[in-house]
Amino acid sequence: MPSTAGSRLLENYRPPFDATAVRKLRESGAIVVGRPIWMSLVTANPWDLSRVPGGSSGGSAAAVSARQCMVALGSDTGGSVRQPASFCGVVGLKPTYGRVSRYGLVAYASSLDVIGCFGSSVADAGILLNSISGHDKFDATSSKREVPDYQSQFVAIDYLESKPLKGLRVGVIRETLENGVDSEVISSVRDAVSHLEELGCTVTEVSLPSFSLGLPAYYILALSESSSNLSRYDGVRYGKQVPGDELNSLYGDSRAQGFGSEVKMRILMGTYALSAGYYDAYYKRAQQVRTIIRSSFKEALDKNDILISPAAPSVAYKIGEKKNDPLAMYAGDIMTVNVNLAGLPALVLPCGFVEGGSGSLPVGFQMIGAAFDEANSKLFLGCFIAFSKCYVESQMHYFQIVFYVDLIAHAFIQLLDAPSIHAACFLI
């Protein structure tokens, strides 16, 4: 299958091997439908085609949201699964760093990248996670920890008592519901939190003073690592080569023409941060901040089972809106990057809607767990489907307008493959 990572530089590149996650999926019988182009300008948010689906795995999120497939894989380095999940109103799961092998994943930032799952239900995302998780000898950073059976954790709604989440300690991160976040996003998340309380959780407010340090630290580390990981794309061994009379022009022209401007900017910044004389001030400093963030999360998760925040400070914005303001675009990652810095698992679920533009736009909220504690957050979310009913109903409305014909076909397929709440709803 052609694999271009949305880049001209990998034009016509066909990888000679399967990524471990994909190989595991094939071995467990999955049907691979396609491969959404990463970061493409063509993909739009199914809820409002003039808006972005989120990035960078927006294509996968949009595909699941538009019911073109049941589940999808994406990669999450700083929120690139969770943010599009929030924007597209689907479930987005980021596993603990090392839970899923990175072998075969086009590397962006090696110490931050994970392969994540999209699904239209938590159960589906969980099934997907189960099949791709596990130690891989080809990835020295993959964990040898045993993979629990995530599916056995799911409990159908009917079997739950009235306060099924009794005893679960939920910590709401204060710094994520303050300035800089859309008021409607905040109220959506707060509604979700009240509902959790109704279901029996003990909710407290948690303060993580170092929270805002994560964004600059993340960008320094991610750009540094990715500038290095992108060095291999030089047009010499594979991909598009622009021939030159001598070595430097071959390198220079191939990369100049093969990389888009955003990527070039990131490579320049990352190279700068690693340069002699700057390493201590930037890269080393950022690693120290990372340690602070990691320990602050650990401390908070010793006292709470789950930490909660919005998945993004806003709903999906218009295509082109942030084009000339990269810093504003980066600022949108504030909710998600700390989780990557700490290597923790997180789950994003739709929790409400905001009126905007031509219709409603989904809001997602994020649940962060302790390392390798995916099962805990899943159990928690199995219950959440009850809450999501209102969300499902408005989804139905949407699909009647836009995808009427596909609706029946997809409902059929879903019923055959795996029972999920949405399939049941479609048949109603």
Binding site: F17, A107, A140, T141, S228, S231, R237, Y238, Y279
Partner: protein, 427 residues
């Protein structure tokens, strides 16, 4: 190849070898070390970076004992700055005039060895002449062969050598500008290149042009026997080192280190000292201790009680010649140390033509071998006929080496057989 999505995996053998070498070089081991990326662009470097160890090498601060020929200094100790692990790059094959096409000049890149683990051993700037450096390199080769971590063949590229040379006026504490020399393919080129470079720099100094000695990389040209500028270094390259995120750190436990330490063989230096104490000459000592297998053969032979000097002579003389002729290693020849020991004892004791044994198994076999040996050594047969009866031992040895383990008869019987044959043929 540096394909998208490919990840490096650490080969645990390289850690074992690094610890072995570090211990053998009397280094301090880092119980906790890591890998770093050394970043630069070159066609033989597929990822655009090399995985190496920058600031925390696995071993550092050691020394190597070298026995130089007496006229060059005798016994010397050279410091070892560090030993670190890294991955190899590919190989550029410069074909000169592009045999595939006249119009386009290109160099193919061979990526087969890219990613193969290497150990880089850096010495302190302790050597003062080309011969010292060459002997140091030869001793390192001996060491890695002893340890079994490499075959150390420079021709195959299993052992590669770059040198840095600088000079300074007598009395100056600060080192002069150093010049790197590459393309050294043998120990003798190491020696000659260094001596050339020293005289080149001295000449510039003496002409008042010391400022023409710049930090650069020069190539040794074997044909012209001189160093030439390869590329001028524009200051120090910025490799933008940072810790390798795809590989976990390396943690060594005391247990692991002790296990390896216990498994180290007797190193060349120790062996040489022991052989010296046995009364052997330096020439003998150097020969016998050069190859760990030859030394083992020698040790086993004298272990049977054989005379030390005679054993040394046999091994350095006839056996070495036989091995060279037949292109066999000491482990391949059929003669065992025990048998050599007996042979030596027999010759010493003069019992060669001793009692005839009662049992002879397959005399035809022996006869064939004896015939072959006698036919292959007409010179010695002449000498024997001429009265050099001691050559009996020589013939016996040759027969033994060719066939000993196949014979089921007793040694005395064989001797006797040879004895009779030789006697019969000289009449």
């Amino acid at each position: 190849m540096g394909l998208p999505g490919a990840l490096p995996v650490l080969n645990s053998k390289v850690i074992e070898y690094a610890v072995k070498v570090g211990l053998a070089l009397n280094c301090k081991l880092s119980l906790s070390s890591k890998f770093d990326r050394k970043q630069y662009f070159y066609p033989d470097l597929p990822k655009g970076y090399q995985i190496s160890q920058f600031d925390i090498p696995i071993a550092s601060g050691g020394y190597l004992d070298v026995d130089l020929p007496l006229e060059f200094g005798g016994h010397r100790k050279f410091g070892i700055t560090r030993v670190h692990m890294e991955e190899d790059a590919g190989k550029l094959l410069h074909t000169g005039n592009g045999s595939f096409s006249q119009a386009i000049k290109f160099s193919p890149v061979d990526l087969n060895r890219a990613g193969v683990p290497l150990l880089e051993i850096v010495s302190e700037p302790d050597m003062r002449t080309g011969i010292e450096a060459a002997e140091y390199a030869a001793e390192l080769q001996r060491l890695v062969r002893y340890l079994g971590v490499s075959n150390g063949n420079m021709q195959e590229g299993s052992l590669r050598c770059d040198v840095n040379v600088s000079i300074r006026p007598i009395g100056q504490l600060e080192f002069g500008t150093k010049v790197e020399i590459k393309n050294l393919n043998s120990f003798s080129s190491v020696s000659r290149a260094i001596d050339f470079e020293i005289s080149r720099q001295v000449l510039l100094h003496s002409q008042g042009q010391a400022n023409q000695i710049v930090q650069e990389t020069r190539l040794w040209e074997e044909g012209a026997q001189k160093t030439v500028t390869m590329r001028k270094k524009e200051g120090l390259a910025d490799y933008r080192y940072f810790p390798e995120p795809d590989l976990p750190g390396v943690t060594l436990s005391e247990e692991y280190i002790n296990g390896i330490r216990d498994s180290l063989p007797e190193l060349p230096e120790m062996k040489r000292r022991r052989y010296e104490n046995l009364g052997l000459s330096m020439q003998d000592v150097l020969f016998l201790a050069n190859d760990i297998n030859v030394a083992a053969f020698f040790d086993a032979t004298i272990g049977t009680g054989a005379d030390v000097k005679l054993a040394a002579n046999w091994i350095m003389g006839d056996i070495a010649a036989y091995m060279k002729n037949e292109k066999l290693s000491v482990n391949d020849i059929k003669l065992t140390p025990k048998e050599l020991g007996e042979l030596i004892a027999s010759i010493k004791g003069g019992t060669i033509s001793g009692k005839i044994g009662k049992e002879i198994v397959d005399p035809a076999e022996i006869e064939k071998i004896v015939d072959k040996v006698i036919a292959a050594n007409p010179k010695q047969l002449e000498q024997y006929r001429g009265g050099k009866t001691k050559l009996q031992g020589f013939f016996a040895g040759q027969v033994f080496m060719a066939s000993c383990s196949e014979l089921t008869t007793t040694k005395r019987t064989v001797f006797c057989y040879i004895d009779t044959e030789l006697v019969s043929r000289s009449t």
